[in-house]
Amino acid sequence: MASVGQELLDVPLPEMVMKLGLGVAEAQRALDENSVETAKLLADTEVPLVLAITQTIAADGSVSFTQAPPVDVSLLQIGLMPTFYQFAEATIEVTMDIKTTMSRETNIKVSAKAKVGFAMWSASVKTDVSHNRKFGKEVRGTSRMITRMVPVPPPARLEPVLNVVDNRPAPAG
């Protein structure tokens, strides 16, 4: 019968760690792909942005509004950014409950028989001995894997940097 120590050694911990690592990597790739797809969509979707609205209150108190012609800008330009997620932590918990039992049972059965007849007699004694040893083992195991995912800032080069170059001559002063 395998010892308790051997049972613990048989826990495929390296395999579990490897599979958890691969699972996290695969999930991370899927999350990144999703964020990149979102970024593409944000860059491709344009909305008209009205930069100025003029409210005019006339002398008679009537109010009118006029707006500047809208400028088409992408959602990414406006500042809607894709959220990137990252697995910050991964934990494996393995719990084992090992129970071993052993019982020994001995049965002895003795029977005697005697017979007396004409000028003769006979006797016999019969003994049956049986030994039973029973081994029992119960192993229960549970494993728990916990990963924590947190939002992280998008990659630095994802958003285009806005540089304004003003070549107008300085006003004469």
Partner: protein, 106 residues
């Protein structure tokens, strides 16, 4: 099994194991449907439509939790659900570069 909309956590049976997602705070998600308006599905999964983005109504910005977003993503009519956030600094920089200067009173 599908997460209960609006519930504290979603529990899924996957990989022969029980997979549980704990809910975080709600955030913004871009929801793109394959055809039609995804607003009804967003609401069914416990989210709120915050903004409609184009004329066809196939793209909306919804406010929902990650669990609700993952649950929504399994719908056949949904093409993509992606987390987004608003970068206010970038928005202000864009407005400044385009000449928007706030409220002027004459």
């Amino acid at each position: 099994m599908r997460a209960s909309p609006g519930g504290p956590a979603g529990i899924y049976g996957k990989f022969g194991a029980t997979v549980e997602f704990q809910d975080g705070p709600p955030g913004l998600f871009l929801v793109v449907s394959a055809n039609g308006d995804p607003s009804a599905l967003v609401v069914v999964h416990g989210g709120q439509v915050a903004l409609r983005l184009n004329g066809s109504g196939a793209v909306v910005v919804a406010r929902m939790t990650l669990t609700q977003a993952l649950s929504l993503q399994r719908e056949r009519g949904i093409r993509m659900v992606g987390g987004i956030h608003m970068n206010l600094g970038r928005y202000q920089a864009l407005l400044a570069s385009l000449g928007a200067v706030g409220i002027n009173q004459e």
